[in-house]
Amino acid sequence: MSAWIERTAAEQAAALASGEVTSVELVQAHLDQIAATNGDLNAFLHVDASGALEQAAASDARRAAGEPLHELDGVPIAIKDVLATEGLPTTAGSKILEGWIPPYDGTVTARIKAAGLPILGKTNMDEFAMGSSNENSAYGAVRNPWNLDRIPGGSGGGSAAAVAAFQAPLAIGSDTGGSIRQPGAMTGTVGVKPTYGSVSRYGVIALANSLDQLGPCTRTVLDAALLQELIGGHDPMDSTSVPNPVEGLVAAAREGAAGDLSGLRVGVVKELQGDAWSADVVERFDESVSVLKDLGADVVEVSLPSFVHAMAAYYLILPAECSSNLAKFDAMRYGLRVTPEGSPSAEDVMRVSRDAGFGDEVKRRIIIGTYALSSGYYDAYYGQAQKIRTLIIDDFKRAFESVDVLVSPTAPSTAWPIGEKADDPLAMYLQDLATIPANLAGVPGISIPSGVSSADGLPTGIQFLAPVLEDARLYRVGAALEAALLDKWGGPIGPSSYTSKEA
């Protein structure tokens, strides 16, 4: 195995800058790793080897010509299959979009191309990003590089597994209720959901417009900061794009890595503790919290009482929005068209095509959403859920008057066996307890590895949340904890079968 793939994105960028390696060599090393491991992992749905090598050669030529380059120019990246990539298949993990080739780039794709990062391919995901285990992909589950019988988390299991298994140093994810952060926790990687609206959603196949946010999946906090700075910023093509820039992320990560958190007020969320949290996750969480104290942080417990209603509100708001969003998959303009026998009408074709093209979880959520929005139930369910959203936003505002960041475990347990909750939607939904409130309120969140479970040897994650537009705080505290834990562990944690001995 080439040791290049085990280097962080920042290290790969530095090696490119110093002439130690070429982008073509880096891309080839990652393509080799994908070829060797993707049969087991199923993390990539589509690999664009020739395109990535061409982009790498162009990057090397730009560098040789002395052109001004973005810091990450030439460092390869993977993109979740939820984001439109011109000329590359984009399925959102659904049969209904099998074979669709977008005629345009999403804004984040365009920014990645403009910065010169070769695109390795598209990563697997739960269908339309609905799920916490990746088992809802129409193209087969992703397997966790730490243990191939375990789920990698979802919906962005492909991006997280790709980064964990050194198939890519960087990947784009999307987070609607935890789909970047929870897979990060399940695979021992870093995942960030930026402030809502700070990264353009143009070209993202929408799940729930008021909750969706693209963000970085990486192995280090610094790499995430580099990627978020690259993809973020106002976009006139997205009417929900915030005009305020989210800046200083890389600087905050570098400052945090120095390890001084004096004066930082950290609030442990009271409502994200208790019986729902497995003992091995809590053990690693408590350990991380004491490290934060050692670094000088003031740690207190804070209560956000409306969090107890977050999951119920989310599973009404999300289905309501997605039932409306997914109406566009009507077999008329793109996507799967199944024509029944006889002389069917357009509506007959829609009914049959949507039944054939959507999986169970998508159908469940569309039906729940249709119900929640129907007259007679609207006020009792959707209207109540929107009010609870207000209460949760108020809880965050109150909490952030007394603390700078909030902290909790990212997920209640480590990665579970594939199949265990596959047909139990409620058990699956409960995995998102800690991650959902951030999406409802639009605040940013980060998950970083907190260690390895003493019970099953699988990774655990810790989550920080900050006020809207204060993403830099996440990078400061995340980098500080990461540096202290790496010191304690003697190096990064990773899936042993994917790391080389010499590294």
Binding site: Y315, L316, S345, I366, K387, T390
Partner: protein, 99 residues
């Protein structure tokens, strides 16, 4: 919360233009009731004084200037169409037999 009957699930699926088979109805209807039961707890949590939130970061009337700008060509726009004819999407008949 009232329990959803099999017929109600079929009706909701029909509103959403999904032709569920009997086997799917048998499978999905009980799961939908479990989900609805779990979200029913929110009823009555927030009173009339709480303003609903539809969007986490409030913004109003985000417009662009009304000027012509580059967009997809007809070929690009039709590139994913199941059927196309004369630069248009070709679709099955849109009126029912009785119309």
């Amino acid at each position: 919360m009232p329990e959803l009957s099999r017929d109600e699930v079929r009706h909701l699926a029909d509103l959403a233009r999904i032709d569920l088979s009997d086997a799917e109805l048998d499978h999905l209807a009980p799961q939908l009731n479990v989900i609805l039961e779990s979200v029913a707890s929110i009823q009555g949590v927030a009173g009339d004084d709480v303003v609903p939130t539809s969007h986490p970061i409030p913004m109003t009337n985000v417009f662009r200037e009304d000027v012509v700008r580059p967009s997809l060509t007809p070929e690009q726009a039709l590139s994913g169409a199941p059927e196309a004819e004369d630069d248009k999407f070709s679709v099955p008949r849109i009126l029912g037999d009785e119309q």
